[in-house]
């Protein structure tokens, strides 16, 4: 199935603005993001040492924010748009 990923702010420097991916059915959110880093590199940008998506990364699927604890098992559907954004904290 086809999904796409939109990156914002400094994530665009690593992944570009939009990536269209063809992934197997039963693809989870982390699977899709691993596909992204397999294609574009920079896995350390998104993943902890233990392979989980970093908690502070804001992740949305289909316009809905996914809490850190709901990400690992989230199954994607055909046409899903994933948004990834690294919140900034300076002032």
């Amino acid at each position: 199935m086809k999904i796409h990923i939109r990156a914002f702010a400094r994530f665009r420097e690593d992944f570009g603005e939009r990536t269209d991916l063809t992934v197997p059915d039963a693809c989870t959110l982390p699977d899709a993001l691993r596909e992204l880093t397999a294609l574009k590199g920079h896995p350390e940008t998104l993943f902890d040492d233990d392979g989980a998506v970093k908690d502070f990364v804001l992740v949305m699927v289909g316009g809905e924010r996914l809490a850190p604890e709901d990400r690992h098992a989230r199954l994607l559907a055909e046409g899903d748009e994933i948004v990834i954004y690294p919140p900034v904290s300076g002032g």
Binding site: F8, R10, F56, L58, R65, P87, G90, G91
Partner: protein
């Protein structure tokens, strides 16, 4: 009379004449009657406080514990070379009073903590989050939610910035949107990025006080590297440990 001016309407020359064209004398009175707390007198606090002072917000409470360093001056225009080593709130208050003698500026040289935050925001009509790391932001967010005080959030790093407005109980709070804090970093900082975001925060305060649609339930992302802007939906989290207990309302208007 110079040629061409014959048909012009008479224009008031008062300090606030041009903005009263937007919200009238009643709006100006609302600004003059307001107390706004600005947490942080740095990159975001400089534009936010400057525009709120110039607009005639009656009482500005500036909170910052830091002293001015040379590396602040590329963006923190409330301070200058002569202020290095002195409290930021002192130079900021001096500049703002020089800008508008009709307002009251209250400098508070303190770090925001769980112990002092309730007293700092007490009586405020709005709070501007112009802080530079997430931990004190979350302390401020919690106090704003407890006091039901609107919070205008902004943050920057390099060319990137974000902003949202929190109306406690009506729209997402910072904990709803950012359940997990980004790591503390020595962030790159550029004046124009702080200028964009700090100006958005000041505009949100002014609209809240005078009436107008707000940046609630949405996270505005400014990308100065591309000169582009995106808005992500940011709904309330019913399980939010900070504001989840407040009843859900759909009303997201200013007061």
């Amino acid at each position: 009379m110079p040629a061409g001016d014959g048909n012009q309407e008479q224009v008031s020359e008062g300090r606030y004449a041009r903005q009263e064209m937007i919200f009238g004398a009643a709006g100006q009175e609302a600004l003059a009657a307001a107390t706004v707390v600005i947490a942080g007198a740095g990159g975001l606090g400089s534009p936010a406080a400057t525009y709120l002072a110039a607009a005639g917000v009656g009482r500005l409470v500036l909170v910052d514990f830091d002293t001015v360093a040379l590396s602040n001056l590329n963006r923190q225009f409330l301070h200058g070379d002569a202020d290095i080593g002195t409290p930021k709130v002192a130079s900021a208050a001096r500049r703002l009073r020089a800008l508008n003698r009709e307002i009251e500026v209250v400098p508070v040289g303190a770090k925001i903590t769980e112990e002092n935050v309730a007293a700092i925001v007490q009586g405020a009509d709005a709070v501007v989050d112009a802080l530079d790391s997430f931990a004190p932001r979350m302390v401020l967010n919690e106090a704003a939610v407890k006091g039901r005080i609107p919070l205008m959030h902004g943050a920057i790093s390099g060319f990137y910035g974000q902003a949202t407005t929190v109306l406690p109980g009506k729209s997402a709070c910072l904990r709803c949107i950012f359940p997990s804090e980004p790591p503390k970093e020595t962030f790159p900082a550029l004046g124009p990025t702080a200028g964009v975001i700090g100006s958005i925060q000041a505009g949100e305060v002014i609209k809240y006080l005078t009436g107008g649609p707000l940046l609630t339930g949405r996270l505005l992302l400014w990308n100065g590297a591309e000169a582009s802007c995106d808005v992500l939906p940011a709904p309330r989290d019913p399980a939010c440990p900070v504001c989840g207990h407040l009843p859900v309302t759909t009303e997201e208007t200013s007061r």
